[in-house]
Structures are given as structure tokens and as C-alpha cells.
């Protein structure tokens, strides 16, 4: 890993988790959409630095339409 990358991955991982928690508590559709986009970007940033919390962000619904949160 390049200089500072391990720390960046740690920091991003914390941001990712905090954003996911916020999304789980938010009911306003407009704000939920902002947080989903943020989660995508944080997830992808982690992926591009060699880390990934999962294959897709946790909010993604199941085929029967059930939401994770």
C-alpha cells in the first residue's frame, strides 16, 4: 500500500459505517437518496483502495423488494 493508504481506508470505513447508520434512521426520501449516493461513493472509494465492506452497499433491496433498512 502507498503512504497513508491504510489510514485513508480506516477513515473511509468509519465514514461508511456512520453514513449507513444515518440512512437507517432517516425517513425523508430526499435525504435518504443523498445518503444512498454517499454510501455508493464511499463503498467504491474503499473498493478502489483494495478494501471492501461487502459486494454492494448494505441498503440494496432483495429481489422480492424487501429493504434491508
Amino acid at each position: 500500500m502507498v503512504n497513508g493508504q491504510a489510514k485513508a481506508v480506516d477513515d473511509l470505513g468509519r465514514l461508511y459505517e456512520a453514513t449507513r447508520d444515518l440512512l437507517a434512521q432517516t425517513d425523508v426520501p430526499a435525504v435518504r437518496q443523498c445518503l444512498r449516493t454517499s454510501l455508493n461513493n464511499l463503498h467504491w472509494a474503499l473498493w478502489l483502495m483494495g478494501a471492501e465492506p461487502s459486494f454492494v452497499p448494505d441498503y440494496v433491496s432483495l429481489p422480492d423488494g424487501r429493504q434491508a433498512f
Partner: protein, 456 residues
């Protein structure tokens, strides 16, 4: 703070060594397998029927050999039985944000759903190729493209958005209007198929306009063999536009799988968004670096309809340790796609893909684009005769030398010595489509048998 002077879009990822890349892939492939098992009724059933479970994968070898292969036909059938997507999807309808389709040139079009996040990841693949060529966020892209359901250039659009550059849509315009738009809007990058870029050059010439003096500094292409596949196409595009041309290999349902190499003799697989390996289409064994075989891909960029160990039927000469000479470490496809595994013949005991031979002939200087490959059957072997025409400015004393050069190049690359005949300039039939160059004189039963051996 500006990073646009960096040589790579993502230096760390693009220069990982093979062992590091393989370790990343193994971890990510396991995640994809678990995801598909939990969410896709199709995969669960497909795997259960074959006695496979994701826990059986502990190495990349396990992945290649134990995970059942998938093919476009599997998906087409389910989409037809349960429209629009059938049980292949892994997400709820609310998370599908874009729909695309394959061209359907070989049958029914395949329907392709993407989530919002998929489109971001898919678009990203383009940027690696743009960046190494010198394209930056301050550039502006003109799309000579009608915005239908074709995933290819939609994904380029997603890529430009991610890069942070400017988009000019050329949707719904005539070829002449494209020429005028290029002069008026002053874009620095043209996006189109290679053949349509050549058509734009032709139209500009008819209008008395020299596009080599325009604002364009780069042209970038997909959809057909382009400047990283064929030297003749590269020369024509570079000279005509006075720009640097590039090529990306995309597979609509999978990913913008392989952005171009800086040195432009092939493309690199985008290893952040897919995993691929080369499989002998008959034995299903993995082949060594440099051996022509079928590219089998697993995408990380489509979570709506996962494609796992998916047969592309594209024949490639791939290197997991690239010999191209640039510093990108991602798997390299020399000459991009050399043919299709569903169309193969056996000449003197060697598997020959007529499309690969076509590409080699196209690259020999002095050979006109009008040539024929005559397939026949002698005893128990296929025979392949090349009938070619020299360019009209070549003197007849040079004809034999050109034919010898064609035979030599094919022997070097394909490993078999074919016969070549020279026909007088202007004497061979003129067609627009490449496929019509192949004349198959074999009896039907041999064709069927051999086509099946190609791995349907």
C-alpha cells in the same frame, strides 16, 4: 490541489503485481458468490443442480474449475419465459435504475438491468484508458451517437461524468451536423464506433473541411475492431483527425471490460471491475499466457444481474503478466478480440479462427480490404485458401511478395501455413460486411459438427 498531472487515474490499483491482484480477486469473487447465492434464484438453482456451493471455493483455481459456467443463452431463455428479467436479478425493482440491451445481431437481444451504483462502476472502467492516453477532466467529449438502448456509449457517458469532463451530446444529428458541431463546439475528444468516425471524416472531406485541423485531440472507440485491434484503422483515424485514437473493448451485459493500453496494440482488462481467465473452448481447461482461447469473465460492475464465470465466446490472446511495454499490470489482450469461439475450423490439425486470420490479413501493407477466405473439405481435414487483392497502386511484380508476407504472418501467429492466391485488383466481390469475406464450401454436416465443437 490538482492531481491531473498524475500518470494514472489510480496508480496504486493499476500497478499492483499479479499476486496482489489475485489475492484481491479471490476475496472479491467469494463475496460475489455469496451475494448471488443469497439473492439470485437463477444462480442458486444453477449451482445446486451442478452440486456446487460457494463454500467450495478456496482458491482462484477452484473458482475457474468448480463454479459452473454461464452463457448468454441461459439468461435469454429466462427473460423470455419470465419477462422482463426473470429470476436472474439479485435486487428489487426499485434499485434498478438503468435498462440496456445487447444489439441482438445474433438473435434475441439480452435485457440488461443496472443499479445506480453499477452504472458508476461500469463507467469508471473507461477512465483508465482515457487517462493513460492523456485525457483529463478539462477535456470535452462529443458523442456521435444516438442514445438508444446500446450499453456501450451510455457507459462512456457515465465515465465522462465520473471523470468530471464536459459532455456534448450528438444524439439525433446527421453526419454533416456532427462535422459542424465539432467545428462549433470545439470538443477535444470524439466518441463513436471506429467505422462511424471514418464516415464522419468522409463527410467532412465532401464538405471541404479538414478535420485534422479541428479542436479534436483524441478519438475513442468501441463496438467494432478499432485502433488497438488493427494498425490500418489506427493510421486512418490518427491521420484523418490529426489526433490520438484509442479503443475500449466492452461487453454490454458485463462491463466496459477492457480499456485501451497506452501503446495501442491491445487492451487491458479493468481488474477493479471484473475478473477474467482464458479457457480452451473444447476442454474447458485454463490455457497459458499467450495462447488463443476464450475469455471467461465475472463482473463486479453488474450487481442487478450478476454474471459469474460467463462465457463471452470472444477469442483472445491474453497475458496475466502483460508484455505490452506500458507499466499497467492488468491482464492484457494482445490485438483485443481475435475471433469468436463459436466459429472455428481445423486446418492440418490446428484450430483456426477465420476472424483471427481476417484481422492478420487486414494488417499487411499493400493488401486491399477485399479478400476472401475459401473454406473447403479435403478428406478428413478443413482447407482454408486465401484469395487476396493487392491495392491498385502495387505493381504486379510485388504481388507474390505480398502473398508470401500474408502467409508468413499467419504461420507466425496461428501456427499453420495456409495457401494464398492473388487476384487482379478490382476482381473480387465488394461487400460492406466483414462476415461475407468467408466463403464456406464445406458440406452442411461438417459445418454443423465443427460449429458445435466450437463450444456452444
Amino acid at each position: 490541489m490538482s492531481h491531473s498531472g498524475a500518470e494514472h487515474w489510480n496508480q496504486w490499483a493499476e500497478t499492483l503485481n499479479r499476486e496482489e491482484l489475485d489475492a484481491l480477486h479471490l476475496r472479491r469473487l467469494k463475496r460475489v458468490l455469496d451475494y448471488a447465492w443469497a439473492r439470485s434464484a437463477f444462480y442458486r438453482q444453477h449451482w445446486q443442480r451442478a452440486g456446487f456451493h460457494p463454500d467450495m471455493v478456496q482458491s482462484l483455481d477452484d473458482f475457474k474449475h468448480r463454479v459452473p459456467l454461464t452463457d448468454k443463452q441461459d439468461f435469454l431463455q429466462m427473460q423470455e419465459d419470465f419477462p422482463p428479467y426473470g429470476p436472474t436479478v439479485a435486487v428489487g425493482a426499485a434499485d434498478i435504475s438503468h435498462h440496456a440491451e445487447t444489439s441482438g445481431s445474433t438473435g434475441l437481444p439480452l435485457r440488461i438491468p443496472f443499479t445506480d451504483y453499477d452504472t458508476e462502476r461500469y463507467g469508471e472502467s473507461w477512465i483508465y484508458g482515457w487517462w493513460v492516453l492523456g485525457i483529463r477532466p478539462h477535456d470535452s467529449f462529443y458523442f456521435a451517437f444516438n442514445w438508444g438502448n446500446y450499453a456501450g456509449f451510455w457507459s462512456a457517458y457515465w465515465g465522462v461524468r465520473r471523470l468530471g469532463a464536459t459532455v456534448y451530446s450528438g444524439g439525433g444529428q446527421t453526419t454533416e451536423q456532427h462535422v459542424r458541431n465539432i467545428l462549433g463546439l470545439k470538443p477535444t475528444v470524439l466518441i463513436s464506433t471506429p467505422s462511424y468516425a471514418l464516415r464522419i471524416l468522409e463527410a467532412a472531406r465532401e464538405m471541404g473541411i479538414d478535420l485534422s485541423a479541428s479542436s479534436l485531440r483524441f478519438t475513442y472507440h468501441a463496438g467494432e475492431p478499432g485502433p488497438c485491434s488493427l494498425a490500418s484503422v489506427r493510421r486512418k483515424l490518427d491521420e484523418g483527425f490529426g489526433a490520438i485514437s484509442g479503443e475500449l473493448l466492452g461487453i454490454a451485459e458485463v462491463d466496459a471490460v477492457a480499456p485501451g493500453c497506452r501503446l495501442r496494440h491491445g487492451v487491458h482488462m479493468s481488474e477493479m471491475s471484473n475478473f477474467s481467465w482464458s479457457m480452451d473452448p473444447r476442454s474447458h481447461e485454463e490455457v497459458a499466457d499467450g495462447v488463443i482461447a476464450e475469455n471467461v469473465v465475472t463482473t463486479y460492475a453488474n450487481s442487478a444481474q450478476p454474471l459469474i464465470n460467463y462465457r463471452t465466446h470472444d477469442l483472445v490472446r491474453a497475458y496475466n503478466r502483460p508484455p505490452c511495454g506500458c507499466d499497467m499490470t492488468w491482464r492484457y489482450l494482445d490485438g483485443v478480440v481475435l475471433g469468436r469461439s463459436d466459429y472455428m475450423v481445423t486446418v492440418k490439425g490446428t484450430n483456426v479462427y477465420p476472424a483471427a486470420v481476417e484481422n492478420l490479413i487486414s494488417d499487411v501493407p499493400g493488401v486491399s480490404p477485399y479478400f476472401q477466405l475459401i473454406l473447403s473439405r479435403e478428406g478428413s481435414f478443413d482447407e482454408l485458401l486465401i484469395r487476396l487483392e493487392p491495392d491498385s497502386h502495387i505493381s504486379s511484380q510485388e504481388w507474390d511478395g505480398i502473398a508470401e508476407e500474408v502467409v508468413r504472418r499467419i504461420k507466425d501467429v496461428v501456427g499453420v501455413r495456409l495457401r494464398a492466391e492473388v487476384a487482379a485488383p478490382g476482381s473480387l466481390p465488394r461487400h460492406d460486411l466483414k462476415a461475407e469475406r468467408i466463403v464456406d464450401l464445406r458440406r452442411d454436416e461438417f459445418r454443423r459438427e465443427l460449429d458445435r465443437q466450437g463450444g456452444q
